[in-house]
């Protein structure tokens, strides 16, 4: 099961155009999602993770946001579908049914005017043609399964009547309503406490074992990545700068940005570090995606920078262990 490709993203590029500027939000991003496996996207805020997932779903804000290159292919049971070439109508049938998405901010995707139970039921009614009563019963069962206490009551609650974590769980329930082939989860556990987060990760794993669902998991929590993902891609400035097996990358990062990322984390919980000891933040600020430098996008902040880094684009090269790194000094960083 683990080697069947369910979704392939190839050389995907996305731009946002306004009169004043062109923001190159995603540049030449490639990865594949495998059946029953979780692929994690991590990286700097504003590096293009959410835009990548929105592009896969074809939910970019038109007309400013556009896919300017590359392709996304869904390997559905009845043959491959080039999502980047589908009509909006055909794409609507894919969304929610074959690819479900949990958005970074649940309040923006839950409708404040309907109860959460009705919203989850609506997904099943729309895509699977389930009867109203059946669908609502299914919604309550799902809310219960994602660990919402008093689910039969809460199904009748409006989104603003739930805590942040409950809203997030309601979103997960909604995503699972149609047993999708692919689930894209953008920071799905950020609002959850760690015990519920652990349950949620366990639930996702169970469903993956049951249904072979592939998961694209976007998160800032590297501990979560270490627990759930088989592969991880690190993004910086719209590009993948490092990609490979999660455990190996955390043990020995090869890209200076990945290394800076790991070094900037607060110490793990049982450390002896004194309270508020300064953390090693990466100096400098995020690259401006509307004014990208000609060479390495991380170079202006990089301690390993050399003149050759700033002259031309740096390739994402594979090392013998199949790790991809976009750095001319990858071997020295490790």
């Amino acid at each position: 099961m683990g080697d069947t490709t369910v979704l392939a993203v190839e050389n995907l590029s996305v731009e946002f155009r306004s009169r004043r500027r062109i923001v190159r939000a995603v540049s030449d991003v490639s990865f594949t999602l495998k059946a029953g496996r979780t692929f994690a996207l991590v990286g700097e805020s504003g590096s293009g993770k959410s835009v990548t997932s929105l592009a896969i779903m074809r939910l970019l804000a038109a007309p400013a946001g556009r896919i300017t290159g590359g392709s996304v292919t869904l390997h559905a049971p009845d043959g491959p579908l080039a999502l980047t070439a589908l009509s909006e109508r055909a794409m609507r049938a894919v969304r929610g049914r074959q690819i479900a998405m949990i958005f970074q901010e649940p309040m923006t995707s839950l409708n404040p005017l309907f109860t959460v139970g009705d919203q989850i039921a609506e997904v099943a009614r729309h895509h699977l043609g389930t009867s109203r009563a059946e669908a609502f019963k299914g919604a309550v069962a799902l809310l219960d399964r994602v660990g919402i206490p008093a689910a039969a009551h809460r199904a009748h609650a409006y989104p603003h009547e739930l805590s942040g974590g409950m809203r997030q769980r309601a979103m997960i329930a909604m995503a699972l309503a149609c047993k999708p082939l692919v689930m894209i989860a953008d920071e799905p556990t950020t609002a959850l406490d760690v015990t519920v987060q652990a349950q949620m990760l366990e639930l996702i794993r169970e469903l993956q074992d049951e249904t072979g669902m592939a998961v694209l998991f976007i998160t800032h929590n590297l501990g979560v990545v270490a627990e759930i993902a088989s592969e991880v891609a690190v993004m910086y400035g719209g590009q993948i700068v490092e990609r490979g097996e999660a455990g190996a990358i955390f043990a020995a990062p090869r890209h200076p940005y990945t290394r800076g990322l790991l070094d900037s984390l607060p110490p793990e919980i049982d450390s002896n570090m004194p309270v508020r000891a300064p953390l090693k933040a990466i100096p400098g600020s995020v690259v401006d995606l509307a004014a990208l430098p000609p060479g390495c996008r991380f170079a202006p902040r990089c301690a390993w920078r050399q003149p050759r880094c700033e002259t031309g684009a740096i390739a994402l090269d594979a090392d013998p262990a199949n790790r991809l790194v976009r750095c001319v000094r990858a071997q020295e960083v490790a």
Binding site: Q104, H153, A155, G164, T190, L265, I269, V275, A281
Partner: protein, 328 residues
């Protein structure tokens, strides 16, 4: 010196709809008899189960929710009885940074206006040029690009929007910041910058912070003391370094064991909480955690255990003495 904020017996109820009975509701206590203090310049962490009432506690303190019971003294003044000018003056000194940077920013206001708003409301930096300079300084302080002031919230990533929220809170020059998950939407390198910034500001202005978070690594790093909530009640209070190392309450232990780890494994493995999360509408008798507690005994069903001193500087609410600080 007195505490900056003292909360005594706080209670906040909500009504939720009754299934099947259209239009009828039932009430439950989202926050039940919660008492704690925040010292001047103290960073106090608030952690606990999702839905346990953390945000509600914060909203009661800043006046966004009206409690049904209890007392809150800020710098000696009772927040419930203040009115008019006095109320306005105290409100400036308590600011909140929200859990959710998307819905808390006005999408139609340019970022510069959003950040300047508290100054206008509270009459700080009266001249326009002064205000603009202060906005620029604040945006720089939280690490946003200089042109950010002219842009709209939707043009920023999730993490960048959270920094706008922090800049806005700082604009009021508060003494106490209620920070509700302020760094959970940030990537770790920006999180490090913001945590360093909070630590710096805290030290420079002797700022008090109530820091609500699910990230226990971050709480251990930033907070002097920690409150642990479960289902509307406080179950444990203590100095953070000591508490994470030697948790007294069985819930705290389960919580700590669930922290995802990059390199190490939790000592003694993960404690998986079995049993139903109790319905707040029909809470169990006695200790509210007992239905999921691996250490529950008969006594736990009898009375609500009070938050009592269990070691020097450590409080816990547990009826089973054998469960306290247990290591298995």
């Amino acid at each position: 010196m007195t505490d900056l904020l003292s909360v005594e017996g706080l209670r906040k109820e909500f009504a939720i709809p009754q299934p099947g009975l259209f239009g009828t509701t039932v009430r439950f206590a989202a926050v039940d008899n919660v008492s704690f203090t925040i010292g001047r310049g103290e960073v106090l962490g608030l952690v606990g189960e999702s839905g346990s009432g953390k945000t509600t506690v914060g909203r009661c303190i800043v006046g966004l929710a009206r409690p049904e019971g209890g007392r809150m003294l800020f710098d000696g003044e009772d927040l419930a009885t203040l009115s008019g000018v006095a109320r306005h003056r105290v409100r400036r000194r308590i600011q909140i940074v929200f859990q959710d940077p998307f819905s808390s920013l006005n999408p139609r206001l340019r970022v510069g206006r959003t950040v300047a708003e508290p100054m206008v409301i509270h009459g700080l930096c009266v001249s326009r040029t002064e205000r603009r300079e202060r906005v620029r300084a604040l945006l720089a302080e939280v690490g946003l690009p200089p042109d950010a002031e002219h842009r709209f919230p939707h043009e920023f990533s999730g993490g960048q929007r959270q920094r706008i929220g922090i800049a806005r809170a700082l604009a009021a020059e508060p003494d106490l910041i209620i920070a509700d998950e302020p760094v959970s939407a940030l990537d770790v390198s920006v999180q490090a910058q913001v945590l360093n910034l909070l630590a710096e500001l805290q030290a420079r202005h002797a700022l008090s912070i109530l820091f609500i978070s699910h990230d226990l690594d971050v709480v251990r790093h930033l907070c002097d003391r920690v409150l642990v909530m479960y289902a509307g009640r406080l179950v444990e209070v203590g100095p953070s370094a000591d508490l994470v190392r030697h948790p007294a309450h069985p819930y705290t232990r389960a919580l700590l064991s669930a922290v995802p780890r990059r390199t190490t494994k939790a000592q003694g493995g993960r404690i998986v909480l079995s049993g139903e999360i109790p319905s707040p509408l029909a809470p169990p008798s006695g200790c509210i955690f007992r239905t999921r507690c691996p250490k529950a005994v008969a006594a736990c069903a009898e009375a609500v255990p009070p938050l009592a001193e269990v070691a020097a500087g450590r409080l816990a609410a547990c009826s089973n003495p054998a469960a306290l600080f247990a290591t298995d």
